[in-house]
């Protein structure tokens, strides 16, 4: 099916997702449950990848800064800006597109093929709003916290790698972290992470929600959801960077 078909159906799906809710208190309960299970459930992977990314970026930068005229504290600055500008938002989003995205697509797909979505519809409930909205809003709510944690852990990883391997001193690294700090970079990263969270929750939900068939199709929808979400994250990364940093 064509690109325009999917754009049209995705738009109408999002319109349904944000339709009038049946009952607010149930949405609130589901919102917190989803924020917890999707967001807090992803904390472990975010911490692990951030730590190692911070460490690797620091070491790679150190090995490339061989000129004696480049001060060593710039390694700390480079590690910090790499985490703030790109890794904590974009790379974490790509990882979460795999984890959270496939989870949402397969959950929605399974609910579709086992007629659970039909059961909600028969009851007069808007299934898209009931099932998908708490996931999107829950992730959007929790992702700024994950991003800030990722930034912090990444810098800790860089610190331990640089001090542990002796490529630069703790003082130089910390001085570099403070040097020429631009607070806007943090907001830029948070804005990106929220937009990406919308993409890697809504796109997989769309693919899962419209599954037709059985287990094979659920698997295919899950894979397609992750691929399309990842591509969209990269495209929006480019657009947002041009809009917010240019």
């Amino acid at each position: 099916m064509g690109l325009f078909f999917h754009i049209g159906r995705y738009s109408s799906f999002i319109f349904k997702v944000f339709g009038k809710p049946e009952r607010f208190n149930i949405y609130f309960t589901n919102f917190f449950r989803e924020a917890w299970s999707l967001g807090i459930g992803s904390l472990g992977i975010v911490v692990i990848i951030s730590f190692f990314m911070g460490a690797v970026v620091t070491l790679q930068t150190a090995y490339n800064f061989e000129s004696p005229i480049i001060p060593l504290y710039l390694i700390g600055l480079t590690a910090r800006d790499s985490m703030l500008l790109e890794f904590s938002s974009t790379i974490v989003a790509l990882i979460l597109a795999g984890k959270v995205g496939s989870n949402i697509a397969s959950e929605m797909g399974t609910m579709r093929v086992t007629e659970q979505i039909d059961a909600l519809e028969i009851m007069g409930i808007n299934p898209a709003a009931f099932l998908v909205r708490p996931k999107i809003l829950g992730m959007i709510f929790i992702v700024p916290f994950l991003t800030v944690i990722s930034m912090f852990i990444g810098m800790v990883g860089g610190f331990l790698a640089s001090v542990g391997t002796g490529v630069l001193s703790a003082h130089d690294y910390i001085y570099g972290l403070h040097y020429a700090f631009i607070p806007w970079y943090v907001f830029y990263s948070l804005i990106k992470s929220v937009v990406f969270a919308f993409l890697y929750t809504s796109v997989p939900a769309y693919f899962g929600y419209h599954v037709k068939g059985g287990a094979l199709e659920v698997g295919k929808a899950s894979t397609r959801a992750v691929v399309i979400s990842s591509i969209l994250i990269l495209i929006f990364n480019l657009i947002l960077t041009q809009l917010l940093l240019a």
Binding site: R23, E115, D118, I122, G124, I125
Partner: protein, 248 residues
Amino acid sequence: MITVIDLHKEFAGRTVLESVTVEFEKGKTNLIIGQSGSGKTVLLKSIVALHNIDGGSVLYNGRDFHKLNKRKQKDVRREMGMLFQGSALFDSYTVADNVRFPLDVFTNQSKKEKMKRVEFCLDRVNLKEADHLLPSEISGGMQKRVAIARAISMNPKYLFCDEPNSGLDPKTAVLIDELLMELTHEFGMTTIVNTHDLNSMVGIGEKIVFIQKGQVEWVGSKDNLLQTDNKIVKDFIYSSKILHDSSI
């Protein structure tokens, strides 16, 4: 009462239902029967508006469901209960939570009132002791009974069942059939059961609609099903080896 008038449905240019006109009576178990691929599931899904129709009307006590606005459709939906082929229970909810779910969404009942209703519904399907279990922890037959309890929790006027006996052993299938018939009479519901189970036809078919190639071929009841002169219906019924042998 549900009245279907001149219903027409196509999929990708292929006619699946053609000029289907039939009445499903209140307080009775109405069966839709027919071979696989005859259009009975499409008919049931058209009646409950799980998909759009290409012509005709479906009247719920005179209300043309497909022509109602969204809000009024929702009002009618709250009078419906449905038992799906695979039960369609919510995996992450316990048995009691599944039954309570429609009450949570649509009523302003207190927690105590809801609990009382859940207990009543589970008791009615003999599953009171399983209220704390997850759907994955109970058998297929029990899942069907939970789905029935959920379907009746809102006191529906209309109950729809899509192949309620599929995947069940004959004894459990009979239990489910008897339960559906009892509940239909007890609550005065208009019940429509989509099946090709012969035991159901002769057991609970108070009104039977035979669908063949998307059209109504025969309408009758369990009392005259086995005596019908309709060749297509006879071929279908007596394709069962047991019946075939006993009729010789």
